[in-house]
Each structure stands twice: as structure tokens, then as C-alpha cells.
Symmetry: C2
Subunit: 451 residues, 2 copies
Amino acid sequence: MQLLSGFSTWSTEEKLGWVLDEWMKRSGADSCSGVREEMLSWMKSFWHVNAPTQEIFRNFSENNLSNFFLPYGVVPNFLLNDRMYIVPVVTEESSVVAALSKSAKFWAEHGGFHARVLGTEKLGQIHFYSRIPASEMQKVFDAALPALKEAAVPLLSRMKQRGGGITKIDLLDKTTEEPGYYQIRVGFTTADAMGANLINSVLEEMAQALKEFVGCETGSNVDIIMAILSNYTPNCLVESWVSCPALSLTKHTHLGERFVERFLKAVRIAEIDVGRAVTHNKGIYNGIDAVILATGNDFRAVEAQGHAYASSSPESPAGYRSLSKASVDEQGIFHFCLKIPLTLGTVGGITAVHPLAKFSLQLLGNPSAAELMQVVASVGLAQNFAAIQSLITTGIQQGHMRMHIYNMAKQLGASPEEILALRRAIGTDTVTHSRVQYILEEIRARRGKDP
Amino acid sequence: MQLLSGFSTWSTEEKLGWVLDEWMKRSGADSCSGVREEMLSWMKSFWHVNAPTQEIFRNFSENNLSNFFLPYGVVPNFLLNDRMYIVPVVTEESSVVAALSKSAKFWAEHGGFHARVLGTEKLGQIHFYSRIPASEMQKVFDAALPALKEAAVPLLSRMKQRGGGITKIDLLDKTTEEPGYYQIRVGFTTADAMGANLINSVLEEMAQALKEFVGCETGSNVDIIMAILSNYTPNCLVESWVSCPALSLTKHTHLGERFVERFLKAVRIAEIDVGRAVTHNKGIYNGIDAVILATGNDFRAVEAQGHAYASSSPESPAGYRSLSKASVDEQGIFHFCLKIPLTLGTVGGITAVHPLAKFSLQLLGNPSAAELMQVVASVGLAQNFAAIQSLITTGIQQGHMRMHIYNMAKQLGASPEEILALRRAIGTDTVTHSRVQYILEEIRARRGKDP
């Protein structure tokens, strides 16, 4: 089989040309017609009109051909810690922004969201194997510590100016689990940067220093397997909460007093059933990731740390559980809160390079990383509130499928006029794909009969 | 505090106008100059030039203002089950596509990726409370079962034609964990659709039928709390693997035989240390989510089910652990495999509505959902292989930071010529932000002195 060589060094035009040739073969498009030329200009229609701006996007990642569009929107009325935010959101999932907006407005009328940062420590790990027995390793490590710290100094000078640095350096003895395996765990604070690159660079320098020091001082080899940050960050934690008299909530829906009772049960179920807990938390991240994307942060890191925390935190000894909690206290006050790890940056990475990520941060008032943690966690809580509210009242489908009419109709080739007629005809009925198809056919049949 | 009302009903122009007014206040922009008008046309510069195409993006989500661009690229040379794929990828993280490309090419030369689907069952849950004692509930449920099945028939008719349907309906007694709480768990197969909307609609109809049946037949009330799909899908599972003589790998890097030994240790560490496991799996999803986005699938669902599986599967009784495994067998064959849950669709949702998602699926040869599961899992494995390879040889930073020079230089206002000079000056040295800044200043100083 002939493999393609040097593809990454080709120009974008050359890459596009090759990919379109392959696409022609795979999609069964007619190669005689002008399809290829049409496709070429179609792919380029997603490029930014301004060449230097397009160059920015082209350089984010390798083998770039075009841009993938995701809708960019906002959630107004987001009251957090007595400040009114307009929250930028990027999501392809219909009804997320609508749900967030509804939830934001309700809570803005009931005291708003509150949040605080519980910790900002990020972790790095140096994994190594050594024949030095566990009984002696701590002594060797203590002796090496100054050299490790020194190795990090040049890399950390800028970060120190911004108030960050190393918080701790510990040796972990893992030899009972795996013979010869030790770990050095380093704590970092990285101010307003996500800090991944800095942490990795520091760890690699420290690992080198450890290897050299132990080699020189003991004549024993330290086999560094890898040195890299950890995405498990239980000490980079933020908490968000809302509260109001339970009575205010009873007036909120047609369920009356049963609303609060059902809400507590819905959260309780997510605390004891893994099948529900995963979905419950997934909904939280529907909201969170929309802000993560809009501000140029890394949603894979945020998802990994969040779900791992749900399964391995001190608060979930029994396994994967809900990240949010709800209660009503003796004074009849309803409390709803979310505690999650979040490693975010408001400087560095693509936050300042992606034009709309930069705009997002400006719209949020150029927050610090700690402030952004509070916004993001509160958006997660808002989304969770909205999802549970839908689930325990009308069911998730009523609102969601209505949002979906457009996509379904579009797939069936409906015109804007037909979509309008469709929405009217469906009214408040249950929305299903079959029904949309049936009504659309009826609309078309009726129109066909018109004079 | 004055809240904004009816924002979602405003036109896009009106929304944009209001957001820009607020942005002016928050960003400290000078309101007297033409900044607002400039910003308005700047925001619109991200709209698609073709109005009907832009209308599609505008309708994906609510409160839409513009489009958020993410780079769209491809990974060539991806050999899977003896078929050569070009894999579409969307990621903002530099070096992911480069790493995937390198890994794909290596494995294409060593037998390629292999994958198989182990199951496609998705789960839905009806959560309810009842005073009917646990000893009697099973009997009541058995009697209600025909009514539940019947309620689903009209909704499932289309799905049945495509080979999907209900696989099981079970009652779970949860009363020992929570008094009065029961669950009905429904298994579904949904052919090539992700199926979320269908599953939710079926569950809501079934829940209604249950309530009515039990009310009529026993006079007892069933309190349906919620009925919704579960994102915990341990039976919607795919496995991907590569294998080759360990000897082939020893020639692969400068490490020689130590490469395989170190590779096995790196995976082993992710099996016993949660801090490493989370990062290890995060890397897998760096690859996976790039394809999920490019094909219009839901990455929050995929992340949630994957990380929950890492913490709660039969294979991880001890808590959160690595999703991949590596070994060398007695014949000296190296094996590396990944087993993950994946609920994907290749019809429905935005897969056919988003122009580039549609193109992605065509480029993949219009795969079934089961085939796409195999592609996505193999991309996860490819990414994991590349990440471990970097970590245990040169360290993650050497390659990654080099990719990052552009972003750092851009932030420092470097011109394309300066970026070129910068890359040359850095050569193979360690890349840090300080060094980029220092060298850039040197380049500029030198240029200043030029005649």
C-alpha cells in the first residue's frame, strides 16, 4: 500500500486539492462535471475574508484546510456575586443557550449566583523507577531537593512576577503497587495562565536535575519514565451556589410545592445511581464547555478533571456520583450547589490569539482565571438547574424537540415558509421526526392544490 | 437591577447591537470613535458569505451572533481494518494533528489499526417513586409491561425499519438505597442515529403509560420523577488495537529495546495512579473529540461516558484507571488496545445539517455508526500511542512547544518574517516563553541596526 509522504509540508492549496480528489472517489461524485472546482471554492468559503485573520486560524493546528463553524451566542442577565455578566457561549446543541438564559433570569430575580474559589493548585508528576530501596529513597530525595528547585528557577521567573510558583514538592512511594516505581508530585499555582506548557517544562528540567544529582551522588540510575502535568486537579477547585426560600420556587411552576420535593429527589437519584449521575453531570458540562470553548480554553482537560473528580474525590468514596447537591434547610431555604475542579487560563494559549476568544474575555470584563472559574462553575450550575427543572416538570423533550424542528425540517428540504407553517401546525403537540415529516407532506400537498 | 426581557426574540442585528454596546462599556473602548461600527462589521466578518448557509449556523443554537471558527484539518494514511481512511479532525490544540499523523503513518507501515464493535446498546431510565412495596412491585411491573411496550410502538416504527428497537425493559429495585425509589431501565439499539431524541420520547411515553396503568389497576400513585436516556453506556462499546513484533518498535526510536520496556511502564503507571490515569485518558480524548467535532457528534456525551467507564466499569473495580492496555506476549508481539463506550450518529442531529460535518462523513466514505465507532476509537488509540511515545523519548515539550512558537510570537506582535527568523534562531533549543521573547527582541534590535 502506497503511503502519502510529506503531506504536512504541502501548501494548503495542495492539501485541499489532494483531499478533494480523494473525496470525489469516496463520495461517488461525478468527476467529469465541475464538482471539484465548486467544492474547492466551497471549502474556501469558510475561510475568513481577511487573509491575516485566516492565517491565525490556519496556524492553530496542522494540516489545516478550512474552518469548522460553531454558533457563537450569549446568555444575558447572568448575575454572579452581585455583578451582571453577559456570558459568551459556543455550542452546537440546540436548547442549551435557551435553558441557560431562562435559568440565569430566574436566579437574577432570586439573589443571583454566588461562587468562590477553594483552591488553585495544579499538579505535575515525575514518574521514575529506581533500584534505591524505599527505605532510603526519602533521604536521597531530600538531598536532591535543592537541585530540583534550582532547576526550575529560570523557567519560573516570569511566573513568580505574576504571583505564581511552586507550592510543594513531594516524593510518593509507589513501590508496594509496582516494584521500583516512585513519583515526585509538584504543586503549582500559575496565576491567570492555564500553565500547561510551563508546568511541563519545569517538570522536565526537574526530572533531568534529579537524574543527574542521583547519578553523581549515589552512582545509582534513576529511570525517568515521564514528567508531565496531571489533569487530576482536586485542589484547583471552585464552588458555586444559589439559594432562595423554597416558597419562591413553589410559585415557579404549575407543580407548586411538589416542585422542590421532586427537585431534591432528582438530585438524590444522581447521588446514588451511576447511570443517572453520568447524565446529570453531562448536562452540567453542556453549559460549562460552551463557555470553555468561547474563551479559548481546553474542554478535554476540564471534562477529564471533572468526571474524574466525580468518581475519585473525597466526597465520592462510593464511586461516580453527582457533582451538584440540593437541600432545603430548617428555615425553609432551598440550597443548590456545585463543586468542581477547573483549570482555566485568561492569558496564554489561544485565549489572546483567537479573535472571538479574546472578544469573549473582553465581554466578561477581562476576568482573572479565578473569576472565570466562578463564571464557568455558575454556568454549570445554571444549566443543571434548567435541565432538572425541565425533566421534573414537562419532560426534556417538549422544549428540546421544538428547538429541533428546524434541523429536522431542513433535512427534509423544507423552505423557510414551510418551516414557519410547520411550527404553527405542530403547536404544542409532541414533536417527533415522523410527525414533522407527515405535517410537512400535508403542507406541501395543500400548497400543491392552491390555485 | 433591571433585567433584559425578550432578548431571544430580537433580531440578530438587534442582539449584536446590544452586545456591542455592553462590550464597549466592559472593554473600555472609546465610544466616540467609530469602534462600534468597526466591531459590528468585524463580528459579521465571521458570518458565512452565503446567506442561506449562514442561516443554518444561526439556527443551530439560540441567541446567535456569529460563528466561532475552529481549524478543520485531516489525518491521512489512517489504515484501519485494511481500509485506508482520511480522518477529518477539528481541534484548537496544536500538535494533536501532527501527532496523529505520525502515529497513523507508523501503524500503516506495521499492519494498521484493527477494531470491532462489542455492543451497541444504549440505555434509558425511568426514575419513579411508589408506595407499592418492593415485594409486590415486580408483579405490578410485569403486568404493566405490555402497556409500556405498546406505548413505544408508534415512535419506534421508523427505527424498527432501520433495524433498531428496544432490547430489554427491566425493573430495578433501588429501595434499599432510597426508600420508595424504583427504576425502569430500557435498552435500545438505534442503528445509525445517536438516538437521544428518540430514546427520550419513548421513555416519556412509557412513563406516562406506567403511571396510567398502575393508577387504573392498583389505585396506587406512581410518581414519575424523570424519564431520560443515560449517558452511562457500558454496553455500547468498541475495541481498537494494534500489534507488531516488539523488535519493530525497538528500531523505531533511539531508545532501542528500552522503548518497549518504557512504553509498558508508562501504561502500567496509568493503571495504578489516578493522577496519571486522568491525564493519560485526557490525551486519548484529544484525538477522539477532534473526530467527534468534525462529524457533528456530541463530545460531552462521549467524554462523560468514557471517563465514567474508566471509573466504574467491570474492568476498573479499584476506581478510575487507564482506558488503554499494553503488553508483550510470549512470542514477542507488542499489543496495544483501547476499549471505550461511544454513542455516535451518522444520521440525524447536526451530522447532515452542518455542511462540514456532512463533508467529513463523505470523506470517511459515509460510514455506519458502527464503522464510525471503530474509526473514532482507533484515533483515540493512535493519539495515545503518539503521546506516550513523546513522553518516554524526548518529553512532551520539545515537539509541542515548537508548534507553539507561532502563537507565542503572534502574541508578541511578531511579523511573518520575524516568526521565520525566530524559528531559525531557536533551532533545536528548548522553547520557553521567555526565550521566544528574548530572541524576538534580539531579532528586532539587529534589524534596527541594519542600514
